[in-house]
């Protein structure tokens, strides 16, 4: 169970005049399901990178349940991310040559935490995302199946937050539908916070809250009830 506080957050890149991300304050409670939208260049990717510790902000704090990850070293942030964040990306980043279950377990194995229980969980997860052949090579799968493997990989260590970056953008409608449903189910099962960057209106509509970014700033932050009303 993780909650997020952002405080006077700024991220700028050398050579660019205005900061690409500027958030005075943002709080997301544990278990909340949030959509992040905005045009290209609105700072969505930077937002994701900063809150997951992939990038250090230029200023401000990223506090996850009391721990400011901007103060951690790069190695410590890697370790923190491995433990607390489940990432799902638009183009999967699965590794060819390995089977589905090996892909699910790869990060855990590289971090030397893959014990018997975790291996069993990997098999269970593949089953629950609807893949019956855990030993199938990843390159022989369809894109929809691949994203389902990626989801299983993301939730393997029961992360406090699942971050999905355009998870359905490269899928057809049907596969996108399945992936969206799986993300919600998995987040609910692990009681994880879910942050989804997406343009997919059907997926956005299923989330509790919608944050809209423009030029690095939050321009709208609505709860679904309000949208509906």
């Amino acid at each position: 169970m993780l909650s997020l506080h952002l405080d006077s957050l700024g991220k700028s890149f050398p050579g660019l005049g205005s900061p690409v991300l500027l958030v005075d304050f943002l709080a997301i409670t544990a278990g909340e399901r949030v959509a992040v939208t905005g045009g290209s260049g609105s700072g969505k990717s930077t937002f994701i990178n900063v809150i997951t510790g992939l990038e250090r902000p230029t200023s401000g704090k990223v506090v996850w349940s009391g721990e400011d990850i901007t103060r951690l070293s790069e190695t410590a942030r890697d370790r923190w991310r491995a433990e607390h964040v489940g990432l799902v990306m638009q183009d999967f980043h699965l590794f060819p040559g390995l089977s589905a279950v090996e892909n699910v377990l790869l990060p855990a194995r590289l971090a030397r935490v893959a014990d018997r229980a975790l291996i069993a969980r990997a098999h269970d997860l593949l089953e629950s995302v609807g893949l019956s052949r855990p030993d199938q090579k990843i390159e022989t799968m369809s894109r929809g199946e691949m994203q389902r493997v990626a989801i299983a990989r993301a939730v393997l260590r029961k992360p406090g937050v699942i971050v999905a970056d355009e998870p359905t953008a490269s899928l057809d409608v049907e596969a996108g539908e399945t992936v969206g449903r799986l993300l919600l189910d998995m987040a609910a099962e692990a009681k994880s916070m879910l942050i989804v960057v997406s343009h997919d209106q059907r997926l956005i509509d299923r989330l509790d809250r919608r944050i809209t970014l423009s030029a690095g700033r939050i321009v709208a932050d609505d709860l679904r009830e309000e949208v509906a009303a």
Binding site: L54, E55, R79, L87, H93, F95, G97
Partner: protein, 425 residues
Amino acid sequence: MIRFILADLRRLWAGAAVVVLLVTLATALGVTVTLQERALRLGSARAADKFDLVIGVAGSETQLVLSSIFLQPAPLPLMPGEVLAKLSKDPRVAWVAPVGFGDSFAGYPLVGTTRALVGSTVSGFAEGRMFEKEGEALVGAAVKLPVGAEIKPMHGTAQMGGETHAGVVYQVTGKLPPTGTPWDRAILVPIQAVWHVHGLGHDHGHEEEEEQHHEGEVAASGGHDADHDDHGAVDADAPIDENFTADAPGLPAVLVKPKTIADAYKLRQEYRNGNTLAVFPGEVLTSLYATLGDAKMVLSAVAAGSQGLVAAALVLVTVTHIGQRRRQIGALRAFGAPRLSVFAIVWLELFLLVALGIGLGFLTGLAAARLIADAFTARSGIILPVGFTGEDWRMALILLGASAVLSAVPAILAYRQSPAAALRA
């Protein structure tokens, strides 16, 4: 992690195979040069081991050793027989044996010598017995003739257009055990028979003149007048007389076994005057090794250069490769793989390939050196001991160490790159 690396290598198997092949060839080149040079040195030193001192006519030291110990066919001038007689009576000499060459049979050189030499240099016979009569012969271990075979010697060698000595037939009475020297390919006959075949030593009155006439010929190169069948004949049943007197015929070389090292140096000094030349085979070989060493240095430099080129090419290829894999590496980090794991994956992947190449290179080098050595042995009789020594293992460790450092270059690049930047690319 290993499984991930193997999956990766399987996917890129063609590139991986080329890397291994390049490293193998570059390593094998260096290894072959080193092994072959060492084998040549050891082999020739062992071949010369039994012979302490060689005395011949003043001239080229190298030629004297090559002809008398390595049995290279070349005309040697003759020295007077009295040298042999004087040495036989010298108290500082354990044994002395004349060697006379020039004839051959079926490609094997015929060497005229004495029972003393045979008895002192080999222990026992593989088959048969010592020659007792003028018409008998011994064959070296590598001569493909059975005991009892007949030998019709040819003057010079077949390649040089030699002629068969009419009416001269030796019978093989024994076969010597292998020695790993050129003498394994030799046919040994009594020196007395060699003299008689060439018409020497029958008529002492004409010896002076005979010697003039035959100078250079016993050592033999062919291209003679047709009259040399008149030289003489062997009395096959004549007993062997090995008490050499001052009027013994001329000789190309004598091999001397001094009693002590001090005697050896004194004899060498004494017989290095205007007419004769005494040499330790070792000293001649040492100067040959110096030349060999120079050649080896050039070849080693070439080999090292090729290894350097391969190393540079590998760094280039892997750095490019890492560039292409930035996204993959970034993703690994993003999903929580520790930085050290990423470093280890990239490092191990390259190091495994290079180490495999080095291992295969050493084996290939060994096999190549063995092949060359076998071909050399078949031609010369000198056995070349090809094998690895501590020096080679040290070399292997140095190469592995260097490749470990080299593999770290792309690994450090992968370690340092920011996952977010890599994913954006």
